[in-house]
Amino acid sequence: MLLGFEAPSIDFHALAPEIVVTATLAVLILVDAFTPKQAKSAQSSIAGLGLLLALVPVVTLAVDGGTRVMFEGAFVVDTFSLVLTGLFLVSGYVVILLSQTYIAEGDYWEGEYYQLLLASILGMMVMASARDLITVFIALELLSIPAYMLAAWRKRDLRSDEAGIKYYLMGVFASAVLLYGMSLLYGLTGTTMLSEIATKLAGEDVPSAAVLAIVFIVVGFGFKVSAVPFHTWAPDTYEGAPTPVTAFLAVASKAAGFVALMIVVFGAFPFRVDIVEPLFWALAVATMFVGNLIALRQTNVVRMLAYSGIAQAGYMLAPLAVAGTVGDAAVQSILIYLMIYATMNLGAFAVVIAASRKTRSGELTSFAGLVRYAPGLAVAMAMFLFSLAGIPPLGGWFAKFGIFKTLVEADSAAGYSLAIIVGVNSVIALFYYARVAKTMIMDDVPDGDLSPVQVPVSLRAAISITLVLTVVFGILPQLVAGLTDNATLLSAVAVP
């Protein structure tokens, strides 16, 4: 085996999205090399176009249906991965829309920015299909390393530096812990294929080292999804990073983290729910409470959104705590949540970016009375926030509903207790979401300056897309839910 080389059969259709994005990346680098510094505006367009183009094979693959397995099962294209690939591509596109003016006006490095963004998205796409420890690790690093740089993008701003440094240090430290866990896992099972690991870990007893490995791996990805107590980097990074990057980290990067969690939990530990479930129960509860409670005290909108994102991650962790009982239903509910969460959270960041063009600050007080001079922005923001709070008929309700449904479906103490805790936290969360809406709509403008906000077209487009989707998802949740109908991670696992 070691000597004879057998070329792996490559399904180019299955790899088409990744190939398109890689090609776009190459084009970007080429174009960047040959355009003067003042004419980088084509970069964003090319990047955006590339992402949209990558959606085409995603759609054709989805229409085609079926599961495509490559590299001896290390890379799988199925409903699960397609839904997520689509999500990453669309989120990436919206992030590009958000970034366009921000980056162009900020005199930053436009060319490199989009290249790194695309690289990170590529990492995420790979993550969605990875079913093997090495692939997962590579995908993780591919999506993380560009993100460290993006976080520190405003390199003359100390806050941005701080954001980058903290993110980086915590990120690599967590990766290291994760890797250590992976190495133990490998040592115990002798394979990097998740499905094989799963089989090996099945059975009555499991060595302590395996427990350690499982915990370390969960911790490593827990960092990525900013689960408490591995969340500490998130508020600081979110606040300091350029807002479009923050949006990207809060949505796409977090989604990637969840993808990784789901892949390892369902792919590698489906028979070790005795460890995984209580672990996630504890993480989910801590994440919800800490995120929400600290968010209550925030005065900076971006920082508040960061903590809100932590809390939202807590909701998404909850189904994993009943993964053993409900199986793929947990995957589906998390996928639904991720899609709706991406929509509304990107929308919220878009409004913050738009409004900050005038206020030049993320402080809540500076948004007071927004409705007087930018009613559209204020109403849109209110809708995003209340969607995040889970108020029907805005999309967020169905996301939360899916969580509730999964938890109740488990019909276990863990499930019901989490359902109640999610309910309580929804109420706490409403408090700060509503406070932002209140400040923007019910308070007076601080300096009485009623001049309107100039919202560039790209931002308008981003807000419109996310707003429409938020409302439509709320009224017709089937549009989202239907996508996940066949999403499964368990079918690949052979019951020993």
Binding site: I165, K166, L169, M170, F173, A174, V177, E204, D205, V206, S208, V211, L212, I214, V215, F216, V219, F223, P229, F230, T232, W233, P235, D236, D274, I275, P278, L279, A282, V290, N292, L293, I294, A295, L296, R297, I428, F431
Partner: protein, 788 residues
């Protein structure tokens, strides 16, 4: 079939129409054509009602004389008992079906009766002395024919002895329609026309008509003339609705509606706080009583087992003896609690004197003649329930009779210490209402209702007279600013005097007859038990009534004028109603002329007409005894009344030439004789009774009334408000709300605490991450090891 009796709903409808007309067009009419135009709507309506009620009364008399038989009777009975059986069957409740069984037995019974009645001519009731024989004679036939039916069905048994007493069972005329349905039970709204309601129709419409006319002058140029007439119409409509009610729910509706009219009219001059306070007090006190009524109605609804509010059905069931007696007692007492407030019984009477804050014609109509007797009417209407619940027929004292008697005394005593003429009359009304309640309590149904009837006329006359006086004396009712009005207001004086004598119960005025029947009823009691205590109370009151009325009369009309300005007689529009009422106060007592006195009249069918036409025969206690006329009692009460009147007048005449007082008035002369003969009693009364017994007692009672009872009522109000404040401030805003706000606070604070974890130092973040990982790993490794 009588063409008007089943369409009596027209009466309240007319008045309701009148109310709406005045409400919507009154102001405009007044502006364009003057007050008379507005008032004429109300006057015309009530006049039509009055005429109709005369016709109705006539038709009822005819019906009693020629009652329907056979199928007609069965149909009428079915109409009156309502749809309860159907509902009962559906509900699965076991009830005896009165209609079916009743029909069979009635059929037999009426035939038998009819033949006997034919001999008697008009089928009149035998007076008391013939009772024994008639019942014997009549008893045999139905017992023979309908024994099995009677034995099987209590209803039939209940209906039976009615015939025994010589009364043919005359089924009231009932009409109804569905009001609403719930749980597939039809709740009906309907009218009942029998002697009782016909009598009430007559009384209400007549006094209302007179008050309408009287008010034309009394309320002349009043700021709220339209409002006043609108309320009068609404009140008349409600009162008529109430007396025609065929079920207790409907009665509850009418009961509250008259209450709200009373509220509106007491508060007629609502600029003054005192008036609105009085209005509120009236309404709230009545509401307290209403809880009893509500509970009573509810309990009865279920206690009778067939989910029906129908009064006849409930009476019938109550009399059947098959109901749970405890429930029945609770129902009766609860209903009586309602009566207590509405009809000013102790201890809920305190609102009535305050209610005098309203315009005087209103006091006459509502707070003397009609609304306040609604409670008495309720007892009379639901007599089966009270009879069965309180076991009136087999008792010598019970709550209702006692409260009636007690009220009559405390009301009477309080009347002595009033300086306000209307308040004297108000306390007198309380006292008289107590009389009526007592009468019904001792089983003297006819006597009580008859007193209600006569009282309406002379008390209305007194109130309207007082109004006339105040009209003359610059709108004061303070007797200290009156005196000597006899000279200035001859008509008012005469009518007031007649009414006073009638109220005092002097032969042959109306009050004498009705009062006497009550006393006789108490003396006779039911079965072999007499209501002795009630008799004593009644006699005391007879004396007191005369005395305080004498006092009031004297202070108002005799002596020297003590007010300012020159009083003048009121115009005809005021005096004519007074005279009409005075005439009635004089003669109306004769409608229940006891056959005893002149045996010859009896056969002509003139004796006991009131009893004959008014006392029900359907769903009514059959073993109710009607007391015979007692000469000794009549004499005694007459002596007491005369004595009282003489003392009342004589005491205040002290220092004046006694002749002057007794000049023109024959009745006063009798009092004068009494006074002259036992003049030493005056001193005794003054120093011995009045100052040492009556006045302290009265003061004490008044103090008790104002401080304790009123205090309790007011105090309860204040306490409720205080408690509400405390509850609101500390519990609602403090604890209940605080818990919520507290939770919020805790959240915020814990958020604040958790924020400290976020130090900003990346290595501490790392430590947290790794520390947590190690701890988690340790926990799971250990549990895993333990499990393994």
């Amino acid at each position: 079939m009588p063409y008007l009796l089943d369409k009596v709903w027209i009466l309240p409808a007319i008045m309701a129409g009148s109310f709406l007309l005045i409400l919507f067009f009154g102001k405009k009419l007044l502006a364009r054509f003057g007050e008379k135009a507005t008032a004429s709507i109300g006057i015309a309506s009530i006049a039509v009602c009055f005429i109709l009620s005369l016709f109705i009364a006539g038709q009822w008399i005819q019906r009693v004389n020629h009652p329907p038989t056979g199928a007609d009777m069965a149909a009428a009975e079915e109409a009156c008992l309502g749809p309860s059986e159907v509902a009962a069957e559906e509900m699965g409740v076991e009830v005896y079906a009165p209609a079916e069984h009743g029909e069979a037995s009635h059929g037999a019974e009426t035939e038998g009766d009819h033949s006997t009645e034919a001999d008697d001519g008009h089928g009149t009731s035998e007076p008391a002395d013939g009772e024994a024989t008639t019942s014997d004679e009549h008893g045999a036939a139905p017992m023979a024919t309908g024994e099995s039916a009677a034995a099987a069905t209590p209803t039939a048994a209940a209906a039976e002895p009615a015939a025994e007493e010589g009364h043919e069972e005359v089924i009231p005329v009932c009409a109804s329609m569905t009001w609403f349905e719930s749980d597939h039970i039809d709740f009906e709204v309907g009218t009942v026309l029998d002697g009782l309601s016909a009598m009430m129709l007559f009384t209400v419409t007549m006094i209302s008509l007179l008050v309408h006319l009287y008010s034309l002058e009394y309320l002349h140029k009043d700021v709220r003339f339209t409002h006043y007439y609108a309320f009068l119409s609404l009140f008349s409509a409600s009162m008529l609705f109430y007396v025609l009610s065929s079920n207790t729910l409907q009665m509850l509706v009418g009961w509250e509606l008259v209450g709200v009219c009373s509220f509106g009219l007491i508060g007629h001059w609502w600029e003054q706080r005192a008036n609105t306070d009085a209005a509120l007090k009236a309404f709230l006190t009545n509401r307290v009583g209403d809880t009893g009524l509500i509970i009573g109605v509810v309990v009865l609804f279920f206690a009778t087992g067939a989910a029906s509010f129908n009064v006849f059905f409930q009476n019938q069931q109550a009399l059947s003896g098959e109901l749970n007696t405890t429930l029945l007692l609770i129902a009766a007492l609860a209903l009586f609690w309602g009566v207590t407030s509405k009809s000013g019984q102790f201890p809920l009477h305190t609102w009535l004197p305050d209610a005098m804050a309203g315009p005087t014609p209103v006091s006459a109509l509502i707070h003397a003649a009609t609304m306040v007797v609604a409670g008495v009417y309720l007892i009379a209407r639901m007599y089966g329930v009270f009879w069965g619940g309180l076991e009136i027929g087999d008792s010598s004292i019970h709550y209702v009779a006692f409260i009636g008697g007690f009220t009559t005394i405390i009301g009477g005593i309080l009347a002595f210490v009033q300086q306000d003429l209307k308040k004297v009359l108000a306390y007198s009304t309380i006292s008289q209402l107590g009389y009526m309640v007592m009468a019904l309590g001792v089983g003297a149904w006819t006597a009580g209702v008859f007193h209600l009837f006569t009282h309406a006329f002379f008390k209305a006359c007194l109130f309207l007279g007082a109004g006339s006086v105040s009209h003359a004396c610059h709108h004061t009712f303070d007797m200290r600013e009156m005196g000597g009005l006899r000279k200035y207001m001859p008509s008012t004086h005469k009518t007031f005097l007649i009414a006073t004598i009638a109220l005092a119960g002097i032969f042959p005025f109306a009050g004498f007859w009705s009062k006497d029947e009550i006393l006789a009823g108490a003396a006779n009691g039911q079965g072999d038990k007499a209501y002795t205590l009630m008799l004593v109370m009644g006699l005391i009151t007879a004396f007191m009534t005369a005395a305080y009325m004498g006092r009031a009369y004297y202070k108002t009309f005799r002596g020297e004028y003590r007010g300012h300005g020159t009083p003048h007689e009121s115009p005809k529009i005021i005096t004519i109603p007074l005279w009409i009422l005075a005439v009635f106060a004089t003669v109306i007592g004769l409608v229940n002329f006891p056959g005893h006195i002149i045996g010859a009249v009896d056969d002509a069918g003139l004796a006991h007409r009131f009893e004959h036409y008014v006392q029900p025969t359907f769903a009514f206690p059959t073993d109710l005894e009607v007391a015979p006329f007692m000469y000794w009692l009549a004499g005694l009460s007459l002596v007491l009344a005369g004595f009282g009147l003489a003392i009342g007048i004589g005491y205040f005449a002290k220092g004046e030439p006694l002749k002057g007082m007794t000049e023109r008035n024959p009745l006063a002369r009798i009092g004068y004789v009494f006074l002259e003969k036992k003049y030493y009693l005056d001193a005794l009364y003054e120093s011995g009774i009045r100052d040492t017994v009556v006045m302290p007692l009265a003061r004490a009672a008044y103090w008790f009334n104002m401080k304790v009872l009123d205090g309790i009522v007011n105090g309860l109000g204040v306490a409720a408000r205080k408690f509400g404040t405390v509850l609101y401030r500390y519990v609602d805003q403090g604890v209940v709300d605080g818990a919520v706000n507290g939770t919020g606070l805790v959240s915020e604070e814990s958020g604040q605490f958790l924020r400290r974890l976020q130090t900003g130092k990346v290595q501490q973040y790392g430590a947290l991450l790794f520390g947590a990982a190690v701890i988690l790993a340790a926990i799971f490794v250990l549990t895993n090891a333990i499990n393994a």
